[in-house]
Symmetry: C2
Subunit: 229 residues, 2 copies
Amino acid sequence: MEKKAVILLSGGLDSATCLALARRRGFAAYALSFDYGQRHRCELEAAHRVAVALGAVEHRIFRLNLDQWGGSALTDRSLDVPVDEAAEGCDVIPITYVPARNLVFLSLAAAWGEVLGAHDIFIGVNSVDYSGYPDCRPEFISAFQSAVDMGTRAADEKWHWRVHTPLQQLGKKEIIELGVSAGVDYSLTVSCYDPDETGAACGHCASCQLRRAGFAAAGVPDPTRYRVG
Amino acid sequence: MEKKAVILLSGGLDSATCLALARRRGFAAYALSFDYGQRHRCELEAAHRVAVALGAVEHRIFRLNLDQWGGSALTDRSLDVPVDEAAEGCDVIPITYVPARNLVFLSLAAAWGEVLGAHDIFIGVNSVDYSGYPDCRPEFISAFQSAVDMGTRAADEKWHWRVHTPLQQLGKKEIIELGVSAGVDYSLTVSCYDPDETGAACGHCASCQLRRAGFAAAGVPDPTRYRVG
């Protein structure tokens, strides 16, 4: 029987790559997305297209009302998403940081994984481009792994969770190269912080800049649909 | 200004005691309950009564669809809650264990806490009566504390989360004595695994047995409303 893994899937480039890598490593993939009040519904539609295209066994969209307490430009409608936030890694926590987001997402992945009998979780965190987000750093992932080992059946049944972060040390160029080799169709993904209702990207925000530069550096034609103007 | 704390509040005896202790220690209390598909809506009503009675600044009920993946007798309607599960601490994981529940709850408490500017979380875990639940043990709480320190602003802003577990080593008798001294009105709380729709307790389940024995041992009249028959 194939081993099962839960893959956190946002609809963006990184998590699509993670899903492809989990499949290539032979895991039966259970994709998990969150409807957490992010401004862009098209991300969830993208996540679903990616899950289907890459042969996930199941794709769940978990409704999680993180927008109810605000605190981030991605969920709080009273804050503007900065479109020209520096695209390079930054030392301060960006306003697009959602408090404790990856902690919450990983905890729910573990909850589902425990029910499924999965011991593996894939998450597309990255320390190169997102060094400003505390919950994308390897120190956090490793501390989380200890916590989930202690707080679930793993402790009693003498096995260990493994949180896979295959993109941790890669730049966008390397991520795209890896994803293309693993069969990702990046035209299905949405990375933009400010897409229009059809999912077309703005081309200007930090996320678009990173993504565009990644395709250019990898020598891969950029399949992103940008909006006009 | 009062320091803020997030208190996980279930509507039961233990978490009501935690809230009273947080107030006595001078914290402005932000009570957080989860509507996670537990069978008993009366628990959430009890939580609200307790939050009001003990002067919480705010009480949030966070909708969390843990019932969607089942895996516990408390959320999965295809499993029966065992009414005569041994009331004493047990060595196997009980069927009432909800996978990764406290990990998920603490993560969301931290998410809200980060938005509020709270660095303190209170949770009524207990190793005496609930030794069978991996997510009630001190090893888990301490591992969680490291994870949340790493995965939030705490890492960058050089402060530490503190997860308070004031009931960790107490039996029900001691918990009740402490709660009475801190002003808890236990008639507002619901502990039963199988209450009727009015919140009246069955008197027979593991949780009722523990609670009843606790009042008897503490020499406090049991204010629980039991159903007839």
